[in-house]
């Protein structure tokens, strides 16, 4: 019997797919050619290894099933807590380079041009009273409606009756947070499912990016958020 036939016969026996005649044929072969015994034992060991690992290899390639909705918020919180947020707009190297270039021009004597800029800009800055605050919250499934109404009222109350946008899913809320806005806008979003208030925005070239956990009560945390925004946007 050649190697190929021996292998096929051995596989059938190991997998218990053989007929009685095939089983007898293998037994006779093992009795006749003793070196085949070691080969057969080795094949049995290989099959044990394969049968042990194949289910895991198979499971690794699974493609069916959807991430439960409730897990989104929890996982994104983990991402923020572990990795932080990507540096806003990454103000990128080019912005830094531009800034450096302007510094050099200043140093090299573009004082007159700069003076014009300052003269034009000064009244604008004097007129600016603070950042534009935008508010939003998640009003999703599984949150008690009454408590959400209270939360929206507290948000409005903290920032002088500004409108609170409401989103029904976390993805939309995140999209709102990261959507482009003016340089002087600060967005405050509240996600009741994770108990987090997130502040994201820019003011005077500074990036605001901080998450507050609602530990005691929402009103207390909102005061902390308001103080943080005021501190960060002080002239």
């Amino acid at each position: 019997m050649n190697d190929e036939n021996f292998f096929d016969l051995a596989m059938k026996v190991i997998a218990r797919q053989c007929t009685d005649a095939e089983r007898a044929e293998l037994d006779a072969l093992l009795a006749r050619e003793s070196q085949r015994n070691a080969e057969f034992a080795q094949l049995q060991a290989y099959v044990r290894v394969a049968k042990g690992a194949l289910p895991l290899v198979d499971a690794t390639q699974a493609t069916a099933g959807e991430l439960p909705t409730y897990a989104h918020g929890r996982l994104q919180t983990k991402v923020r807590q572990t990795l932080g947020r990507p540096k806003a707009a990454d103000e990128s190297q080019s912005a830094k380079e531009r800034s450096a270039m302007w510094t050099w021009r200043w140093v090299l004597g573009l004082a007159a041009a700069t003076a014009v800029v300052v003269l034009v800009a000064l009244p604008i800055f004097r007129g600016a009273s603070g950042p534009a605050i935008q508010l939003a919250m998640l009003d999703g499934v599984g949150v008690v409606r009454g408590s959400n109404t209270d939360a929206a009222a507290l948000l409005k109350q903290t920032w002088k009756d500004r409108a609170v946008q409401s989103f029904t899913n976390a993805d939309d809320l995140r999209a709102w947070e990261t959507s482009a806005s003016k340089e002087t806008t600060v967005k405050v979003s509240y996600d009741p499912s994770t108990g987090e208030i997130h502040v994201l925005g820019r003011w005077s070239g500074r990036t605001l990016d901080k998450t507050f956990l609602v530990e005691r009560d929402l009103a207390t945390t909102l005061k902390l958020v308001r103080d943080y925004v005021a501190e960060q946007t002080r002239h």
């Binding site: 190929e4 292998f7 096929d8 596989m11 997998a15 797919q17 094949l43 060991a45 290989y46 099959v47 290894v49 394969a50 049968k51 042990g52 690992a53 194949l54 289910p55 895991l56 290899v57 198979d58 499971a59 690794t60 390639q61 699974a62 493609t63 069916a64 099933g65 959807e66 991430l67 439960p68 897990a71 989104h72 929890r74 996982l75 994104q76 983990k78 991402v79 923020r80 572990t82 990795l83 932080g84 947020r85 990507p86 540096k87 993805d171 995140r174 990261t178």
Partner: protein, 196 residues
């Protein structure tokens, strides 16, 4: 075997920087894997814990993402983490049962005609591998068991199909099924066999 990288390779950096949109896509892509691996271990004993273990595995992956060097590593690493978390949970629960002096079995109820699940205490050699080592072997397996090799191995060893059935299902010659099996077994032994 399955695709390893539906997540764009450029996105690894975004993941490592904590980009929420990139993570959303990655979580959706990795969920079937972590769920299936957790289910593989826990379904017979602790079916109620499958989803939690899958979510915790993704959380642990977030912690490890900065150690990852290529997108191809993500899925095997997620699977390795899920496997080891499931095994730890089983060991913990069994230890609690033993500690409490309870005698009831954590085995799932066995239906008629179903084989009784192997007792969890009877650890498989895979259970002693660290998640990273497990991930490396999984990644190698997925790379080496290219279609139809992996499928033929599963058909024969996991689903009990005969040579003829496999040949028909995979559209290969009956005579080549054995050749695939031999090649696949050698690859599995090389990757998963005992290492000195």
């Amino acid at each position: 075997m399955g695709k390893l990288t539906p997540v764009n390779p450029h996105e690894l950096k975004s993941l490592q920087q904590g980009d929420a949109v990139a993570w959303d896509a990655a979580f959706r892509w990795l969920w079937p894997t972590v769920f299936a691996v957790a289910q593989l271990k826990l379904q017979p004993f602790l079916p109620g814990e499958v989803e939690d273990v899958a979510i915790e595995s993704l959380e642990q992956l977030v912690e490890k993402v900065r150690e990852v060097k290529s997108v191809e590593e993500l899925k095997p690493l997620a699977a390795g983490i899920a496997h080891n978390r499931a095994v730890s949970l089983l060991r913990e629960r069994f230890a609690q049962k033993r500690g409490a002096g309870k005698t009831e079995s954590l085995d799932a109820p066995v239906g008629e005609g179903q084989a009784k699940p192997e007792p969890v205490a009877d650890d498989s050699p895979l259970d002693s591998l660290a998640a990273k080592e497990l991930a490396a072997r999984l990644q190698q397996s997925l790379a080496e068991l290219k279609p139809p090799l992996g499928e033929i191995l599963s058909d024969f060893f996991l689903h009990g199909l005969r040579y003829e059935e496999i040949a028909q299902k995979r559209k290969v010659a009956v005579g080549s099924v054995g050749v695939y099996l031999k090649r696949g077994l050698e690859a599995m032994r090389r990757i998963w066999g005992e290492r000195d």
